[in-house]
């Protein structure tokens, strides 16, 4: 499309005499843009790209889920109760193959995928190699399909991120966009794997990005939704669990939910502490022994599965049955313990696969056991077991991965029932408190630090005391002057004061600063202050972060802090010295690490 020539435009304007037609022509011209072609800015293009990433990631996850099922059928048979021979051979042999490939050729596919994705985001500017993504797909499908106690969500997250990264590089996105594109792909992958877009978005914010950031949020949401739409297109809209209708029978039930939270917190502590101790020890062993670790883990899991086949793979089918009181409470407790052991074995030996599903499984079994006990001891005070299962899953997620918001929204999204919010809050807060009380470093950070990476943590960042301008500002040493006052008056105000500058109010919330030097240099002492001002200064509010003040400070001697309700009312002023002094006082001027943590 070529731009219109002047003569053609004039002729067109004649033809389009009415205002409506003229407006149409003008908007057409705007759309054609300066280059004479339809154009969109990178920002807008990024939104379209997010949809494309979501679509591709959704398709990749569909293939990934089918691959896991096919591997499972191929290796373990189609029955949920595989034969002993298959159980003893499949996880062990696949463990050996996966270990050799992972240790020798694809070291970045080991483990869950969340820490690797986070590392790619913060260390490699969003770069994830296509080989890593493909290897993650194949090796995770093999490991999970063969029965290793791991889930598909975290690998799906890494596969989505890898896909997005490859697309970003191919489209030569800017460095900033490349960093944004990784969470976009991660959210799409996780959303498609878990069939829950809100949970995926929040998990990516809490666990991958590690901080609240408005940038790219829209793209993350768009890609997550696209991923889920594609996944449902192919695999149907059946949820992972068919959650029974929830109802709270008695407020006394909240005590049971709180007890469930404590139990989930305790179970999470056992899990995290065992992984914390075992994983580095196993990783420190010589390479040939590392090859054998997943095989040995597979053999042990196979042995356990002879009695408890429920521990194999992600185990969602059993979670679904547990919601319907399929097992007795003692069997449920045994299953939770067996799954914990199996997951520790699989995960500590760095077998590729995710933690999300096993953690949910443990929480579900614990919740179902608690619900079963409630029905046994207080039948008239206990609601349906399904509610306990759901809340237990969330509690375990909140406690192990320390993603409390994700956990709350996961339960709400999966149940589609807002009435469950009270038990969720009672249970999750207890689980989270127990976990935090006895395990300072969250699981994901723990793993990344064991891998030698120091990545930002949502929890640690939110614990940093945020300094606001109120912490640094002080009252102006000289009263603020109006723009119409004379230079002479300003000099008089400064006389006898240690202040080196004065605030000038120009009305309508606009402010400026004049220094003693500038005022002294003025030839006409009767001149109005307004005429001496070269540039205005930005105003600040006392509740804003000190960081904002630092950014606006530049060469300015001080900045005005005004009342939000009256922009002409000066509450105080803040200078660079004030800001640094406030940081020093808070002990944040020289953090030991980027996160302010000791590592």
């Amino acid at each position: 499309m070529k731009p219109l020539s002047d003569s053609r435009r004039a002729r067109l304007m004649q033809l389009m005499a009415t205002p409506v037609r003229r407006k149409y022509l003008e908007s057409l011209e705007r759309m054609l843009g300066p280059a004479g072609v339809v154009s969109i800015r990178e920002e807008q293009f990024f939104m379209l790209l997010a949809i494309a990433i979501g679509t591709l990631a959704g398709m990749a996850v569909v293939l990934f889920r089918i691959a896991i099922q096919m591997v499972r059928i191929w290796l373990l048979g189609s029955s949920l109760h595989p034969s002993p021979t298959r159980l003893l051979l499949a996880p062990a042999l696949v463990g050996l193959v996966v270990a050799i490939l992972a240790v020798r050729y694809f070291p970045r596919v080991r483990g869950s995928g969340v820490t690797q994705t986070k590392g790619a985001l913060y260390i490699y500017d969003g770069h994830i190699s296509p080989q890593t993504s493909v290897a993650k797909f194949v090796l995770s499908a093999l490991a999970i399909g063969s029965g290793h106690s791991l889930g598909p969500e975290d690998p799906a997250l890494q596969i989505g991120a890898g896909l997005a990264s490859a697309l970003g590089r191919w489209l030569k996105l800017s460095r900033e966009r490349m960093r944004l594109v990784v969470p976009v792909g991660a959210a799409a992958g996780l959303a498609a794997a878990f069939n829950a877009p809100i949970t995926a978005v929040l998990f990516v914010i809490e666990a991958v990005i590690g901080r609240w950031s408005a940038s790219g949020f829209g793209a993350v949401v768009l890609s997550a939704v696209s991923g889920v739409v594609v996944e449902r297109w192919f695999l149907g809209s059946e949820p992972l669990f068919r959650v029974p209708v929830y109802r709270m029978v008695s407020p006394m039930e909240l005590l049971a939910y709180a007890a469930l939270g404590i139990a989930a917190g305790a179970l999470s502590l056992i899990f995290v502490k065992v992984v914390r101790e075992l994983r580095p020890r196993l990783r420190a062993l010589p390479t040939p022994l590392q090859w054998l670790q997943p095989a040995l883990a597979g053999l042990l899991i196979g042995l356990m599965a002879l009695r408890f086949p429920q521990i194999l793979g992600a185990g969602y089918e059993w979670v679904d049955l547990a919601m319907r009181s399929r097992f007795t409470w003692h069997m449920l407790l045994i299953l939770a313990a067996a799954k914990l052991l199996a997951t520790v074995l699989s995960f500590s030996t760095s077998t590729p696969g995710g933690l999300f599903a096993p953690v949910l499984f443990m929480g579900a079994m614990l919740g179902a056991a608690m619900g079963g006990l409630g029905h046994l001891w207080f039948p008239s005070l206990t609601g349906p077991v399904g509610g306990y299962v759901l809340v237990g899953m969330g509690a375990m997620l909140a406690a192990v991965l320390r993603v409390p918001m994700t956990a709350v929204f996961m339960v709400l999204e999966v149940s589609g029932n807002y009435a469950i919010i009270l038990p969720v809050m009672a249970c999750h807060s207890m689980a989270y408190m127990v976990s935090r009380g006895f395990q300072k470093v969250p699981m994901i950070e723990l793993l990344s630090r064991q891998d030698g990476l120091d990545l930002p943590s949502f929890e640690e960042e939110s614990e940093q005391p945020e300094l606001v301008i109120e912490d640094a500002m002080h009252a102006p040493l000289v009263r603020p002057l109006g723009g119409d006052e004379a230079v002479e008056q300003a000099l008089a105000a400064l006389h006898g004061s240690s202040a080196e500058s004065v605030m000038i109010s120009l009305g309508e919330g606009r402010w400026a600063v004049l220094s003693r030097e500038q005022l002294s240099a003025c030839e006409d002492s009767n001149a109005r202050l307004r005429t001496q001002i070269r540039a205005r200064v930005p105003r600040l509010y006392q509740d804003q972060s000190l960081d904002v003040a630092l950014r606006f400070m530049k060469e300015r001697p001080m900045l005005p802090v005004v009342d939000r309700g009256n922009l002409n009312h000066l509450l105080g002023v803040v200078s660079l010295d004030d800001i640094l002094s406030a940081y020093r006082k808070a002990g944040l001027a020289e953090p030991e690490t980027a996160n302010g943590a000791s590592g």
Binding site: S215, G236, S325, V385, R539
Partner: protein, 409 residues
């Protein structure tokens, strides 16, 4: 907030006076249609990817459906062969590949029930009911399950809900017939639970919905008989006989109904029409003879004979009690099961009557005769309910009891 204090949402840098971020504007790439190559390639990749995934998904879908059928068929076969534990495993596998479909969940509840896992089956059914509250198949299964758990009120509630519920096409039959079956089952259950008044109401509503003639009418009449309503039963049998004279089942039923009404002549007449006689008619004839021989109030029986028959009836009842393990003396040898109180009172009653049990003492004491016969009927009916081992005389006594005491028992 003024533009001066706004921050770019992309890079976090302060925005310029125009509200735009100078930093991002400088770095941003403007995408135009001239960049069609990567955009077109991306579109092609998506289209190709979509086609490929569709192909794979199609193959997986076929495989999945095959596995569902395979495991479901195996599960059903296991159920038929009474291998309930294996059936549970197979149906769970089918359910896994079927994505938790309703019908397979229903099948799983059957398998769980068959394997004795009633609690699990109940939980499954309750979840299914939440999913489809009007599904009559679920309601029927719940009714049967509650009936097995001796929760009579719950069972009756679910039966009634099932009758009013929706019978889907996958229920395997004509919804009208299935609903009728549910009505019969409810009536039978109420009769078995001795809820005679409720059963009468169920039978009345059942009779309104039945077509004239056929097997269902005979079933209805049989239920009337079992519910202690021989007159209603007789009317149905007679109606059937008018429609198809000589119908053996109707004749036998009419004979039984007449017998229960103590209309021995009519019973004899109906029995005589059954030619050639079969086992059922012969048993009925025997019952008739026995009843006639034992009934103290049979036509033509004088006071002396009535007293003799009463003493004989008393002995039959005492013998029946001892066969049930109940000693004549209270507190000794009584089977202290759930109805121990009733047994104790029977034994006390027997002890009170014992001194009167001779023809001589009974003669002229009709009130004692009456009381004795009441004791006999009560003992026979209690024994019939709580312990097995009744003989022909006991059957005849119960028959006479039903005639005398009617539905009050």
């Amino acid at each position: 907030m003024s533009p001066e204090t706004s921050i770019c949402t992309t890079c976090g840098q302060p925005l310029g006076a125009d509200g735009h971020c100078p930093h991002c504007a400088a770095a941003a790439h403007v995408w135009t249609l001239r960049d069609w190559k990567p955009l077109a390639t991306l579109a092609v990749i998506i289209a190709l990817g979509f086609s490929f995934v569709r192909l794979v998904d199609g193959a997986w879908e076929a495989k999945r459906q095959h596995l569902v059928d395979l495991h479901y068929t195996a599960g059903q076969r296991d159920l038929e062969q009474h291998r309930a534990a294996e059936a549970v495993g197979e149906i769970e596998s089918a359910l896994f590949y079927a994505g938790g479909q309703f019908d397979y969940r229903l099948a799983l509840s059957d398998a769980l029930l068959a394997s004795g896992q009633r609690g699990e089956a109940l939980a499954q059914l309750e979840t299914l009911l939440q999913q489809q509250p009007d599904d009559a198949r679920v309601l029927m299964k719940l009714a049967r399950l509650e009936a097995r758990r001796q929760r009579v009120e719950a069972a009756i509630y679910y039966y009634q809900q099932a009758i009013a519920g929706v019978w889907p096409a996958s229920a395997g039959g004509d919804p009208f017939v299935l609903r009728l079956e549910a009505r019969f089952e409810l009536a039978e259950y109420q009769i078995a639970q001795d809820h005679r008044a409720e059963a009468s109401a169920s039978l009345a509503s059942l009779s309104e919905g039945l077509q004239r003639g056929g097997h269902d009418q005979l079933r209805l009449a049989d239920l009337y008989l079992r519910n202690g309503l021989p007159q209603a039963a007789l009317e149905v049998y007679e109606s059937e006989l008018r429609r198809t004279p000589g119908e053996r089942e109707a004749l036998a039923g009419a004979a039984q109904a007449s017998l229960e009404k103590a209309d021995y002549a009519a019973a004899k007449r109906y029995l005589a029409e059954i030619k050639p006689a079969d086992d059922q008619s012969r048993a009925l004839s025997q019952s008739l003879k026995t009843a006639l021989a034992l009934d103290p109030f049979a036509p033509g029986v004088n006071a002396s004979e009535r007293a003799r028959r009463t003493v004989h009836a008393y002995r039959i009842a005492i013998a029946r009690l001892s066969r049930c393990g109940v000693n004549k003396h209270p507190g000794r040898g009584i089977d202290m099961n759930k109805d121990a109180e009733r047994w104790s009172s029977l034994v006390k009653w027997a002890d009170q009557l014992s001194p009167w049990m001779s023809e001589k003492k009974l003669r002229g004491h009709d009130e004692i005769v009456e009381s004795t016969l009441r004791f006999v009927f009560q003992a026979e009916m209690t024994a019939e309910r709580d312990c097995a081992g009744g003989e022909a005389d006991d059957d005849a006594m119960r028959l006479l009891g039903r005639q005398r005491l009617g539905a009050s028992q």
